[in-house]
């Protein structure tokens, strides 16, 4: 009985082992027989593993080999003179390969089998790599239960290394690519998104609202600069092609301080290289005029700038609104400056202004509220003193391609809130009544002004204004004051959410949703190896892994859009001063490139609707900011040749380029140009000596 039981147990072990062995032997035989394809597959899988490629990439490579296969088959048919030779062609090639290899001609063998082995090997590699990844994801493979986690971590490292290598390669990550897509960087990994080497966003997505969340030092500014430059470059391209209006980028940097100035300088450089002809830095170099608003919006904005109370203070608010409306809408027209508004907030002025033309109710209101007017004037006096001269004009958003507005949200939050409110009101008015522009409003460090800037209100009506809003914050709680507002902002971000490293990503990752995943549980044998028994079930896993986002490195970002996520290594834009164009390519006249010399020349003369585009005269600050600060003479003769820059083929005969009389002038001052070492060495000593007799060196200067 015992012997029979043991035999049964032995058979129970032997049969599966024999089956596994047979399978392995058959696979080994097939792999050996198809050695070239096996070799290609092994190399492909190894490469995919080492570089963190997805299986799709191998499959695409196999598909890309189809033309080679087709040509090989066609050549075979032509050589044989009949199509009937095609079915046997692979077998014949296989035989020829082995014969060549046996004859000691490995190169010939490789050449014979390559058209067949490469696509087959790549396809087999894609299949094997896909099975491997699926098995590891579901937990049905690996030597231990921790294998799946280790595999994922390792693959992440490989994918990050590959993405970093890609962004380090010159030219591999352009700013925009075909059809105006904005390239953010190299793809590390995708979930439910299309796989590709670089992450590109269609231009229309840049025209939608977006949210960027990332803590300090995670690369948020680098990402934002890239997105702004990409928007500018793509929009300028569309504008030049007559497919859309001119772009306008308005950045509200709500943090302020010296750091904001540095970023503004960097933004100006990258935007210039992206095609922006002028970038205005407000309020340091440029101004906007609050007083360009029509009376109605001006009244609303002026009231919004003042903080109001509730309860009994609401009465005061109503009186103030009525009086400010009277001051703004007075018969002489709206005020043109803060001083003029303050002057109007006077009972005498208002009475005179409305005498004879105003309604009796207006005059009664002025009389009854006369005692409050000095208080209201005082509040506005304090308000405009805090706001500074940046809103006093002259200037408007239409004066530049990009505005970088610095709001001192860190040092003076109340001022920044007021400024943000005024700027967004000005922009909304410009969007509705100004020239047709494709506007992107980027609010950086939104938390600094979130209390008084109802960005979600702007979000919801921005569509009709042709305005896209991009809000960035350091954390989810910093996005808005209440959870409801935060959810409204995030839910309206139909252009996607950018999530950099942040300690609390769950609310945002939840917006990416979940995906179905096969979860496999298996039984461990006593010998710590897997048994053949187990269970599989469908489980839900988050599309965007919060743990992964918490561990993102600097410059890595998760882009969440439509239930998918793409992890990206952002390519940093270097806004170094561009080199002058090579002398071989004559540069266009300065007037076409920069407003410093004349009015900008618009590339297309007609907009998409066929109406003529009017040239925009650069404001004074644009000239100052873009051109040399030191006043070089306004009309100068060409320095050395009629065309500038001079063509290289011009002979270096210097006398030809010298203005007449110059050589004589210099010769009179210093003598003729030395052609060789002068005979007399007494002009100046070769080695000037210092007081202590040591040799003077230029390095010491």
């Amino acid at each position: 009985m015992i012997r029979r039981y043991l035999a049964w147990r032995f058979a129970g072990w032997l049969l599966p082992a024999a089956w596994r062995l047979t399978k392995a032997l058959v696979l080994a035989a097939v792999a050996l027989a198809a050695a070239p394809a096996t070799l290609v597959a092994a190399v492909a899988v190894t490469l995919a593993w080492r570089r963190g490629w997805p299986p799709t990439r191998l499959a695409r490579a196999a598909a890309a080999c189809a033309p080679m296969l087709a040509v090989w088959l066609a050549a075979t048919a032509v050589a044989a003179g009949t199509l009937a030779a095609l079915p046997a062609a692979p077998y014949r090639a296989w035989l020829d390969m082995w014969h060549a290899a046996a004859a000691g001609r490995p190169l010939l063998a490789a050449a014979v089998i390559a058209p067949l082995a490469i696509p087959a090997g790549l396809a087999a590699g894609a299949l094997a790599w896909s099975r491997r990844i699926r098995a590891m994801e579901s937990g049905s493979s690996g030597l231990s239960p921790a294998s799946a986690v280790a595999f994922d971590r390792r693959q992440w490292r490989h994918q990050v290394a590959t993405a970093r290598a890609r962004i380090a390669a010159p030219g591999s990550v352009p700013l925009i690519k075909g059809y105006g897509s904005v390239v953010a960087g190299a793809v590390i990994r995708t979930v439910n998104h299309r796989v590709g080497p670089v992450a590109s966003l269609p231009y229309q997505r840049m025209r939608s609202h977006q949210v960027v969340i990332g803590a300090t030092g995670t690369g948020k500014t680098t990402l934002l600069l890239r997105l702004w430059a990409g928007f500018m470059a793509a929009a300028q391209q569309r504008y030049a092609a007559g497919q859309g209006p001119r772009p306008l980028l308005v950045v509200l940097d709500c943090k302020g301080g010296a750091d904001a100035r540095r970023i503004a300088d960097r933004a100006r450089r990258v935007l210039r290289e992206a095609g922006a002809r002028s970038t205005a830095v407000w309020p340091d170099e440029a101004r906007l005029s609050l007083w360009d608003l029509p009376p109605g919006p001006l009244t609303t904005t002026l009231l919004d700038l003042i903080e109001h109370g509730t309860g009994a203070a609401a009465y005061y608010t109503d009186v103030m609104e009525a009086l400010v409306a009277l001051a703004v809408e007075a018969p002489p027209g709206p005020p043109r400056s803060a001083q003029e508004l303050r002057d109007r907030l006077d009972a005498g002025w208002l009475s005179l202004a409305y005498a004879g033309v105003g309604q009796p109710a207006d005059l009664a209101l002025i009389r009854s509220s006369a005692r409050l007017l000095p208080d209201i004037a005082l509040r506005y006096r304090a308000l405009f003193r805090r706001l500074g001269a940046g809103l006093e004009g002259p200037g408007g958003f239409g004066d530049a391609d990009a505005w970088y507005c610095i709001l001192e949200g860190t040092s003076e939050p109340a001022v920044a809130e007021g400024q943000a409110r005024a700027l967004t009101d000005l922009l909304a008015f410009f969007a509705t009544s100004g020239p047709d522009r494709e506007i992107l409003l980027a609010v950086d460090e939104f938390s600094a002004v979130a209390r008084r800037l109802p960005i979600w209100g702007l979000y919801e009506r921005a569509r009709s204004l042709g305005l896209a809003v991009q809000v960035s914050a350091q954390s989810w709680p910093g996005l808005a004051g209440t959870e409801d507002e935060r959810n409204r902002i995030a839910a309206a971000a139909d252009g996607g959410l950018w999530l950099l490293r942040t300690p609390y990503p769950e609310p945002v990752t939840a917006l990416a949703g979940q995906r179905k995943l096969t979860d496999t549980s298996r039984r461990l044998r006593r010998s710590r190896v897997w048994s053949e028994e187990g269970q599989g079930r469908t489980a839900l896993a988050p599309v965007a892994d919060p743990a992964l986002i918490r561990s993102l490195d600097t410059g890595q970002v998760a882009y969440i859009y439509r239930g998918g996520v793409t992890y990206i290594q952002v390519k940093r834009l270097i806004g170094s001063p561009p080199a002058l164009p090579p002398a071989t390519a004559p540069a266009p006249p300065a007037a076409e490139l920069h407003p410093a010399t004349s009015a900008p020349a618009d590339p297309p003369t007609a907009s998409s609707d066929g109406t003529a585009r009017s040239p925009i005269t650069p404001p004074a600050w644009a000239t100052r900011a873009a051109g040399p600060v030191w006043p070089l003479p306004s009309v100068r003769a060409a320095p050395s040749s009629p065309a500038w820059p001079p063509a290289p083929e011009q002979a270096p005969a210097q006398a030809d380029h010298r203005p007449p009389g110059l050589t004589a002038f210099l010769d009179a001052a210093f003598g003729p140009e030395p052609a060789a070492r002068p005979a007399s060495q007494h002009a100046v000593t070769d080695a000037p000596t210092r007081a202590d007799g040591a040799r003077e060196t230029e390095d010491s200067r």
């Binding site: 300088d265 001063p577 080199a579 002058l580 164009p581 002398a583 540069a587 266009p588 300065a590 076409e592 920069h594 410093a596 010399t597 900011a625 873009a626 051109g627 040399p628 600060v629 030191w630 006043p631 003479p633 009309v635 100068r636 003769a637 320095p639 050395s640 040749s641 500038w644 001079p646 290289p648 083929e649 011009q650 005969a653 007449p660 009389g661 002038f665 210099l666 009179a668 001052a669 210093f670 003598g671 140009e673 030395p674 070492r677 002068p678 060495q681 007494h682 002009a683 100046v684 000593t685 070769d686 080695a687 000037p688 000596t689 007081a691 003077e696 060196t697 230029e698 010491s700 200067r701």
Partner: protein, 271 residues
């Protein structure tokens, strides 16, 4: 009034973009000539008495008398820093009187030869009739450095001076409206380094002290129409090789001359 007295006064024009601040009243006992001479010394940082005598077109004794008066008024200080004539530089009071925001320190020993060379070059230029008729004026390295210092860094290569030729000069000079960079080259650098400096000077479009983005703006005219290299015989071959390494058109904008004899810092000068 001789040209040497008038020309140094011309750089005292206010810098554009800066508010016109009221200048401090000149100390009592100073003449109009003194103002120009003091400004010259302030811009050049330090001047040896023999070169100052050339500027003043006076004898050595008269020059010493004038400088002694400056010293009594605490406007200037003197010392024998190198072989040859004593050096003169302005004190804080002198710089304040000139309205110049420079540091009142004596010239560094390591810069004496360079300062003398640049001063001699400037004087040689200012002696020319074309200088005065063209209305040219000199913008010194010290002034450029002060502008650059306000931006918080010195990444740019500063020329040893700039010459601005107004475009409305009655003389009708063919180079009116140009801006030249002046480099005094005493010792040999490598040709590559010299070429890089030449290229930087020739391609720069922005003023010194402007944001980095405005230093090189494609499409704008270069700031310096011409670069004038004044070199010692030792440095001349290197400078000429460096110019030869430039493109033809750029090379044509580089003028090379030998420094005048008075640029030599040696015992016995002016004695």
């Amino acid at each position: 009034m001789n040209p040497a007295d008038r020309s140094p006064v011309q750089p005292a024009l206010p810098e554009p973009g800066r508010s016109a601040r009221a200048r401090p009243a000149a100390p009592a006992g100073l003449t109009g000539r003194d103002a120009g001479r003091l400004l010259f010394v302030a811009e050049m940082h330090g001047v040896q008495l023999d070169l100052l005598a050339v500027l003043m077109r006076t004898s050595g004794t008269s020059t010493r008398t004038i400088v002694s008066r400056w010293q009594q008024q605490r406007l200037a200080d003197t010392a024998r820093l190198s072989p040859g004539a004593p050096w003169v530089w302005l004190t804080r009071s002198g710089l304040t009187a000139c309205g110049r925001p420079y540091r009142a320190i004596p010239p560094a020993l390591s810069r004496l030869a360079h300062l003398r060379a640049v001063t001699a070059a400037r004087l040689a230029l200012e002696r020319q009739p074309g200088w005065r008729s063209g209305g040219a004026w000199w913008r010194s390295e010290r002034r450029l450095s002060a502008r650059l210092g306000a931006r918080g860094g010195r990444r740019d290569h500063l020329p040893d001076g700039e010459i601005h030729w107004p475009d409305d000069s009655p003389a009708g000079l063919a180079w009116a409206g140009e801006c030249w960079a002046v480099e005094a080259e005493l010792t040999r650098k490598t040709a590559a380094r010299t070429t890089a400096i030449m290229r930087e000077l020739l391609t720069r479009t922005g003023d010194y002290g402007v944001p980095a983005a405005e230093v090189l703006v494609p499409g704008l005219r270069p700031r310096h129409d011409r670069v004038l290299y004044l070199c010692s015989p030792a440095a001349r071959p290197t400078v000429q090789r460096a110019r030869a390494a430039l493109a033809g058109a750029d090379a044509a904008r580089v003028e090379i001359r030998l420094l005048p004899e008075s640029a030599r810092l040696s015992p016995g000068d002016g004695q």
